[in-house]
Structure formats: C-alpha cells, structure tokens
C-alpha cells in the first residue's frame, strides 16, 4: 500500500471538511452578530433570525460529506478491506476535494453577509421573510455546484 497516496487523499478530505467548515463558521458568525442586534429590539424574531442564520451553515455539511466520501473511497472507514491507492490516485482524490473546499469556504462567507443583510431586512419587514430566505439561497447555489463537482469527480476516480 502506498502511504503517500492515502496521505494525499486524507489531505483532500481534511481540506474539504476544514475549509468548508471554517467558511460556514465565519458565515454563521456574521449572520449571528446581525441577528443578535435585531433581537435586542425584538426578541420575538428569534425563529426567523435562527432560520436565516442557519443558511450559511450548509457548506460545512457539504464539506464534511465530501470528506466522508473521500475517506470511504480509500477504505479508511468502516473497517473494510484495505484498498491500495497509488500517488496519482491519491492526488486525484485531493484535487476532487478542492471544489467544495474552496467554493464552500468563500460562498459560506458571502452567504453569511447576505444573511446578515436579510436579517436586517426582516427586522423592518417581517412579512417579507420569503424573499429574505431566497437571497442567501442564491449564493448557496455555487456551494451546491461545488459539491456536485466534487461528488462527480470523486465518483469518477477509479481505484
């Protein structure tokens, strides 16, 4: 078994979970700050604020998902049979993890800012929650596309 191949695959998984998670943490944090401000005026908006704050959190889940896919692929989970991964295959897995790592990180931050702005919007116009939920979802599209590409790439790697 080529250890460098495995190591590269793990690096990919770590980047996917780590960077996408970090982006979500920043995004949810930005939205939360805005939400706390709104709730000092009207604590009754907790439900709506929480909903909007949660939106930038999905990138972290996507990243985790790809990380699991990657380590499942090289047989590190579930105690299955050992799979031999050569350096090129490991590198391929590493590259396949990049879309969600990069896309997840930046889109989560951008989505956090949009969520924060939308939280301000529902502070004044709670009846427009529908629109306020859609605007952050526009940003998330690109995280979903990154996720999709990572899945397709991982799926395409033959071991």
């Amino acid at each position: 078994m080529d250890l460098l191949g495995i190591a590269l695959a793990i690096l990919g998984a770590a980047m996917a979970a780590g960077w996408a998670g970090a982006g979500s943490a920043i995004g949810v944090g930005i939205a939360g700050e805005s939400g706390a401000g709104v709730m000092t005026e009207d604590p009754g908006k907790f439900g709506l604020v929480l909903l909007l704050q949660a939106l930038p959190g999905t990138q972290g889940i996507y990243g985790l998902l790809i990380a699991f896919f990657a380590i499942l692929k090289v047989g590190l989970l579930g105690g299955g049979a050992e799979i031999s991964v050569n350096v090129w295959q490991g590198l391929a897995i590493f590259f396949a993890c990049l879309p969600i790592a990069v896309g997840g990180y930046f889109s989560a931050i951008a989505q956090g800012k949009t969520s924060a702005a939308c939280i301000q919007m529902i502070a004044k116009r709670p009846e427009e929650t529908g629109k306020a939920v859609i605007l952050p979802a526009m940003v998330e599209t690109y995280a979903v596309l990154s996720l999709l590409m990572s899945i397709i790439l991982l799926n395409g790697i033959k071991l």
């Binding site: 909903l51 949660a54 939106l55 959190g57 999905t58 889940i61 996507y62 985790l64 998902l65 699991f68 896919f69 989970l77 579930g78 929650t129 529908g130 629109k131 939920v133 859609i134 979802a137 526009m138 998330e140 599209t141 979903v144 596309l145 996720l147 999709l148 899945i151 397709i152 799926n155």
Partner: protein, 670 residues
C-alpha cells in the same frame, strides 16, 4: 386564470341607514373600501361617525388594560395554541352585550390606581435602597441626622466626600476658620480609599466662609433626605420596617392585579377586538364621501361574491344604490386569488414572492407540480418523508381551527412529505441506508429493493440527466406560458418573435444535441437543424426591432443570441436536485455509519448507537428540509418565474372582522 374577476362597486347610501349597510358589508367580508383620491373634484367633507371617538377611546383603554393585566393572567390556552387558532368564538351580539354591560372606563380607572400605586411603591423602594447605602457609609456618625438634613436654629451641617489627601489640610483650615464655632467629622475609612466621607458643622453666620473652604478642598456635597432626623441606627431600623410594609403592600396589589386579570382579561380581550372591528368599520366610512343626505363609498367586490353581498344588503334595498362597473385601466385593482383545493397549499409560495397583479396569470397551479417533484428529489429520503407527514398531520389534527395561511403551509409540508416518500422509495433511501446498515432490519431489504428503480449513489449521472431534463421541461413550460400570455394580451410580436423564437431555437438546439450525442436517430437531424436555424433567424430579425438603422438592428439581433447562455445556466441550476438529494442520503449514511461504529463499543455501545441514530436523523431532517424547501422554491422564483411572472400585485383586503384575541363569527344571512 385564478385571479378572480373583480367589479368596481360604488355605493350611495342614505345617511339614516349607513350603519346597517356597513355592518352587513363587514359581515360578508367581501368589500374592499378605497379612499376617494384627494384630487377628486367631488370631494366632500370628511365624515366621522358619531360613535368613532368613543370607540377609539375605549380601544385605547382596553389596550392599556391588557398591557397591564396580561402579564398577571394565567391563560388556560397556551400562546402556541392561540396562534394556531384556538380562540374563543364570539358573535357580534355577544360582544355588543358585553359592551353594554361593562364599564371599561371605571375598570381602567381602578386598574390605573393599582398601577400608579405600584409605581410609587417601586420608586420608594429604590429610594430606600439608596438611603440605606448612604446610612451604612455613615455607620459611626455620632450625632442625630437632623443636624445634616434640616439643621437646628443656629447650627448647619453638611455632609460630603473629599479626596483622601485633602482631609488633613481641610481639617486644619476648618479648625482655624471656625475655631470653637464649628466641628469637623471624618468618617473612619481604610488607608487605600481615595475618597473620605466627612461632615462639617458650623454656625449659620459663617456659612459663606465654610462653603469657600469646602470649595478649595474639592468637597463634594451629599444631600441628606430631610426625613432623616434621629440617629443612624434608629433610621436604619425604621427603613427596614418601611421596606417590609411596602413589600406587603406590593404583594397585596399584585394579588389584586392577578384577581382582576383572572376576572377581566377574557372580557377585555373580546371587547378590545369588538372595538377594533367597530373602528375598522367607522374608518371605512371615513374613506367615503358625503353630501347632506347621502354617503358614497367606492371599492371592489369579487364578482363571485356579488350575489352574497346583494343578498346581505336586500333588507336595506330602499336606502342604497349600488353601481357596478368594470375596472378601468388606471385603477389600482386588488387581486383576489382563488384556487382549487388541490393547489391551495402552494398559494403561500406565490404570496411569498408577491401576489399577481389584477388580470395577470396566477402561477400557483403552474408551479405546484414542479415544486412537489423538486422537493421530493431534494429531500429524497422515504424515512424523512414519513416523519414529515406524521409530524404535520398530527399538528393539523391537534389544531383544527388553524388560520388559513398556517394550514396552507402545513398541508404543503404534508404533500412535500408524500413526494419525498415516493422519491425515497424509488431511490431506495430509508433514513440513509438504515435498512442495509443494521442486520435487525434485514427482513425489510427485499421490500426496499423491490421498489428501487434508480440508486443515485451508484449512478449519479443518470440522476443528473433526469434533473436537467426536468429543468428543460420547466423552462420550456415557462416559455410556453409566456407565449400564451402574450397571445392572450394580443401582443403578437411578443408571442411569436420573442418567446416563440426562443422556443423554436431552444427545441432545435436540444434535438441537435440529442442527435450529436447519439440519443436520437440521425433522421431527426435535418429537423433539428431547420428548427435551430429558423429560431435563430427569427431572433436575429426581431430582437433589434426597437433600434433604428439596419446595422444596429442586426447587431442587437445577433447579441440577443448570446442569451442562450442564460438558458444554459438556468438548466444547469437544476443540477442542485441531484446534489441536494445526494447530500441527504449521504448524511443519512454517515449517521448510520457512525452509529454502527459506536455500536462496537462494549456494554454501552447500543445506547450510543441509538442516541446517534435518533439525534443524527432529527438534525439531518431539520437541515435538509430547510435546504430542500429553499432550493425547490428558488427554482420556481428564479428560473421559472423569470420567464413569465412579475408579481407585484396588491392583495384584496376587504372590510372584515380583523381580530387579535378572539374570533368573531360571521352571522348567516337569511
């Protein structure tokens, strides 16, 4: 389609019967009154109902009462149930009865007394607190406080603080200034304290000099309340007694408030709603116009509600005249949306975006099937779908009188759950791979496997193709609606050149792509090429038609073909159906795997596994339902609506019984 026809309705009502007519109209809940525009030349005097000021005043009083009493009220119906429509039902007769039996102003007066006394007690308590702190700092003060607060005939005393390093110079200054005519007191204090409490006693005759001395040593005076007369410890004891008395009185008042709340809150709530109903009615009158004998009202009635309104008004026939007309092009007509029951739950989605304008297409029935399928594909787990159905059906059964908009949403989620179960069963996802992951479910495997037609985890490309195909279908459907809409409005250029051109061009491109990819027989290739070229020619020829000059027309036409990229982007956007569907199943698989790993831990493993499965799947449902909802909605709003729908209409807002605490039932029209 489903934006109902509305008639412009003008009422001319004899003044003697205005009340009856208005209450009948309010009871039907089908007439929206609009104010006469200010530049109207038939502007008459503003009419105010004689009862308006009384009702307005009483409404204010009931709001005060509820603000004060509600925190003391133990509601037998929880706030949650209340917002789900569990309210007491009254008829207008009952509330009118209550109104005549209840003396709201007197009650408000009583309650105001309680409130005022409570405030006095609280301010006195806080005063006592600060005095007590002051007295504790003077614990060793040897003289009666009378010297400091009021003074005797000749002697004045002032208390204050000065910086610690000033104490000695100040004492010396005071002794040389006053000699035997005064006395200095310095409270004992720790070495490190920056400020010391001191007092100076002096004959009234030298008060001027004493103040100058104090000013030189940065003396900061502390006022002693004039009520303090005897020694410090006596005063402290008195304060303690007073505090106990106040606490007892406060408790008594709170008890009375709770009693009053239990006795009055239900009544006052009903009355508050009754007054606000009356106020709405009188405000409607205020938007009317009047002559000496006649009041004119202008507004809107949905045509479907006309017979009911006319029937309700039949008893007033002799004193009213109703003039109906078609809405004109300049009128700001409200939209009254009517939908068949099967797509009612989806109406909320249209409302979230913005109601259709009057005369426009209502997209509700058009988006309903797509949303239904998309939600199922995004969530795509039969187990999660079953839990959604169970949860929301239980809610719907528990709260039978839920307001319509809530009911719509809950029904929407039940339907979405159904679609999720179907998609989940067809793709073999039940709580992720719970059935395959744990041996105890092995008896379910044949059943599960018999339903599967496609497993997206193993064959994501087919599922992706399906998602994109659905996207193409919805986009072409949207263009088709735009085509129909333009025809309906007799905008033939818009129909055939704009949307028609695109439909032909896109269908041609798709067929061409199908041939090139080998999915279609080569026989269709000539047709595909013809359609593509025909569509392109139509667009080239027409898209620059607003420009002048041949060259700029041609360039605009050519540039418009670039719009094909936006269609490409739209179609690719539907790939989220695959991505989110996969994400749900994968999260489920991961949870099961973690539970499986935890299960290997000796002794407590099975508990951990169970906790992980339950907690993990609940988390997964919450996150993925939110995602599925938002993304299926976005596909409607961004990709689908952009083809034909703008929204921006005003929802029909009739004069009706708008209440916040109780519900007032409509009276049947005989």
């Amino acid at each position: 389609m489903a934006v109902a026809k509305i008639a412009k309705a003008e009422f001319y009502i004899h003044k003697s019967d205005v009340d009856g007519v208005l209450s009948a109209l309010q009871n039907t809940g089908s007439y929206e009154v609009v104010p006469f525009s200010s530049d109207d030349e038939s502007e008459g005097p503003v009419i105010t109902h004689p009862d308006f000021s009384r009702v307005d005043f009483l409404l204010g009083e009931t709001r005060f009462l509820l603000r004060f009493l509600e925190p003391h009220f133990v509601d037998p119906i929880s706030g949650m149930a209340r917002s789900m429509g569990e309210k007491e039902v009254f008829s207008l007769h009952q509330t009118r009865d209550l109104d005549s039996r209840t003396d709201i102003p007197a009650l408000a007066e009583d309650i105001r007394k309680l409130e005022r006394r409570l405030m006095e007690i609280r301010s006195e308590s806080s005063q006592i607190d600060s005095t007590e702190i002051l007295l504790l700092s003077l614990k060793n003060f040897p003289y009666p406080l009378e010297l400091l607060s009021t003074g005797t005939e000749h002697v004045r005393g002032i208390l204050g603080t000065i910086p610690a390093e000033q104490v000695e110079p100040w004492r010396r200054g005071a002794e040389s200034l006053l000699g035997t005519m005064g006395e200095v007191y310095v409270a004992p204090g720790a070495e490190k304290e920056k400020e010391r409490t001191v007092a100076l006693f002096f004959d009234e005759a030298v008060s001027q000099k004493a103040s100058e001395l104090n000013a030189r040593h940065s003396f900061n005076r502390i006022e002693i309340p004039p009520g303090l007369q005897s020694g410090v410890s006596d005063e402290l004891a008195l304060l303690g007694k007073r505090r106990i008395a106040l606490a007892a009185e406060e408790k008594e008042i709170l008890g009375k408030s709770a009693e009053a709340a239990a006795l009055w809150v239900p009544t006052v709530r009903a009355l508050s709603d009754y007054y606000s109903v009356l106020r709405d009615r009188y405000s409607a009158l205020g938007s009317g116009n009047a002559t000496d004998q006649v009041v004119m009202l202008r507004g809107w009635i949905p045509e479907s509600a006309l017979p009911e309104v006319q029937k309700a008004l039949s008893v007033h026939d002799s004193s009213i005249e109703l003039v109906l007309s078609e809405p004109g092009p300049d009128d700001n007509v409200p939209s009254f949306i009517v939908n068949p029951p099967w797509c009612l739950p989806f109406e909320n989605l249209t409302r979230l975006y913005g109601a259709p304008k009057y005369g426009e297409i209502d997209p509700t029935p058009l988006l309903a099937p797509f949303f239904f399928i998309f939600f199922g594909m995004c969530l795509g787990d039969a187990g999660y779908g079953l839990i959604m159905i169970g949860f929301f059906v239980w809610f719907l059964r528990k709260f039978k009188r839920m307001p319509t908009s809530f009911r719509g949403f809950f029904n929407l989620f039940v339907l979405s759950g159904v679609s999720t179960v179907v998609v989940g069963a067809l793709t073999g996802s039940w709580f992720g791979d719970l059935v395959d992951a744990f041996g105890i479910f092995s008896f379910l495997r044949p059943l599960k496997n018999s339903l599967i037609i496609l497993n997206p985890m193993e064959d994501p490309m087919t599922f992706l193709g399906l998602s994109l195909a659905l996207g193409v279908v919805q986009l072409l459907f949207g263009l088709g609606i735009a085509f129909y809409d333009a025809l309906r409005k007799k905008n033939y250029m818009g129909a055939f050149a704009d949307t028609g051109g695109w439909i032909v061009f896109l269908v041609g491109l798709l067929l061409w792509g199908g041939c090139a990819g080998g999915f279609l027989s080569t026989g269709t290739e000539p047709l595909a090429k013809t359609l593509t070229i025909a569509g392109a020619v139509i667009l080239l020829a027409t898209q620059g038609r607003e420009k002048t000059g041949f060259l700029s027309k041609a360039v605009s036409g050519l540039l418009s073909l670039y719009g094909v990229t936006s269609y490409l982007g739209d179609v690719l956007s539907y790939s989220r159906l695959l991505a989110l569907g996969l994400a749900t199943s994968a999260v489920g698989v991961i949870i099961n795997m973690l539970a499986g790993l935890a299960g290997d831990i000796p002794f407590i493993g099975w508990i951990l596994a169970l906790l992980l499965i339950i907690g993990g799947h609940i988390f997964s449902i919450a996150v993925n339902v939110l995602g599925a909802f938002v993304h299926s909605l976005r596909l409607q709003y961004v990709e689908f609506f952009s083809k034909f729908y703008t929204g921006g209409g005003r929802v029909f807002a009739p004069l009706t019984y708008k209440t916040s605490y109780v519900s007032i039932k409509k009276e049947p029209v005989e």
